[in-house]
């Protein structure tokens, strides 16, 4: 299994994790960190330390930064729930914009610098934002694809792989956490050259308190070799509650 390093940042000081831990993929590493944060925060509070300035930085075994998981984001309720609970004047359209701006700024903060492809989409699968890594590997202009359907931006995805990708996104639109494994498409190899490769991806739906689908986040990891034999698998991700 791949090794992920979980460095703990307290303000500007980083406690490095030199050994790392094994997880099946980045998603599992994130879930493990997510589950660990509340108990660790409690112990920090008892010890008189401030957990709200801490974050776990998840890196791969080569030291590449994949994800930062801030304690305050895990421990605080979603800000837009609080805002929605306190409607101000001109509520409605402006509140929706505030919510959408908040979602976008959170997405950028979490995924801008990671070494996986990440996409924020509307429930209709229109691209709101794609991070730099995803755009580079997909050979797309991240500005030009805003508002375009995710199903249309990978121009070289055809035939059976396109069907698999469509199925993968359809599951997400239906509200499930969907997963695709070993989807063949172009990747950038270690030398930065375009090569035939495989992608493993997951898409998470984001729901509001009334269970309405607000949007989708996809993250996708490229590989130069298939991870499970090269046969594409599309499914609802294990552990999905929908």
């Amino acid at each position: 299994m791949p090794v992920f390093k979980l460095h703990l940042r307290r303000r500007a000081v980083v406690e490095p994790d030199d050994l790392g831990m094994e997880f099946p993929d980045l998603h599992h590493a994130y879930l493990a960190v997510y589950k660990a944060i509340p108990d660790e925060a409690r112990e920090m509070l008892v010890a008189g330390q401030d957990p709200m300035v801490c974050a776990y930085i998840i890196c791969d075994d080569k030291g590449r930064r994949l994800l930062e998981v801030r304690f305050d984001e895990i421990l605080s309720p979603a800000e837009w729930r609080i805002r929605r609970a306190r409607p101000g004047p001109h509520a409605g359209v402006r509140s929706e914009r505030a919510r959408d701006d908040l979602a976008l700024s959170n997405f950028r903060r979490m995924f801008a610098a990671v070494n996986v492809g990440c996409v924020l989409m509307t429930p209709e699968l229109q691209v709101v934002e794609m991070n730099e890594f995803g755009a580079a590997h997909s050979h797309v202009d991240p500005e030009a694809i805003r508002g375009t359907s995710i199903l249309d931006i990978f121009v070289d995805l055809k035939g059976t792989p396109k069907q698999h990708f469509t199925q993968f996104m359809s599951l997400a639109r239906a509200g499930a956490t969907s997963e695709v494994i070993d989807l063949p498409y172009y990747v950038l190899d270690e030398a930065g050259q375009t090569a035939n490769g495989w992608w493993n991806a997951r898409t998470w739906p984001i729901f509001d308190d009334d269970d309405h689908l607000l949007g989708l986040v996809e993250w996708a990891e490229p590989f130069t070799r298939p991870t499970t034999g090269g046969t594409t698998l599309v499914r609802i991700a294990p552990g999905s509650t929908r």
Partner: protein, 240 residues
Amino acid sequence: MLLAASEAPRKVPAHRDLICEGDNPSSVFVVLEGWACRYKVLPDGSRQIMAFMMPGDFCDLHIGSLEEMDHSVGTVTTCQIASIPREKMETLIVATLGLTHAFWRAQLIDQGVLRAWIISMGRRDALERIAHLMLELFVRMRSVGLASDDTCRMPLTQAVVADALRLTPVHTSRVLRTLRERGVMTLGSGKLTILNIVELAKIAGFDDNYLHRRIMKPDGAFQGGGRIPASRPIDTYLQN
């Protein structure tokens, strides 16, 4: 006598149940080689490990008195397990007073270990809990001749340690790193190395009195009711 009563030892692969919660207990298991654990799975699927058994330990001496298991026993590593059928255990207990006393004492010590774990869960933070467990396991291994002065085999993964101490694997990993950076112990590649037993015991608030038979105190040389004196090297503190 015990050997004669037990069935032929069998090899059990790692991560296999010897007996499950709800089963009707028919035999007492004895660990001859390897490690096993006593555990319970909660409705949410999480697992709480309640004890580790190492070579020489009985898994559940009293179990013949119960109709149904209220927990499970499973292997942590590949084990050699001997089984003593319930009826034979009862015969042994009735017929041999010395064995009865030995079993009773073993049960009482197991309960002492359980009390120590309850204290850890209720009153120690993550650093203290892990330090305490590692020290306890080291001392137990040493008492059965499976540890050198400062090293022993420790086949527990971080996930297993986490399940025993109600921590997450991530938190466990970070605490083990802290203990390593403080120069008190290292755990890796299936090996535990105690670098500074005095400091480790101080962190854990460790008092070996609950282990009773597993440590024999040097005659009259202990001060403070079993607490590790600061100046004693490990080989004078721990005697087989």
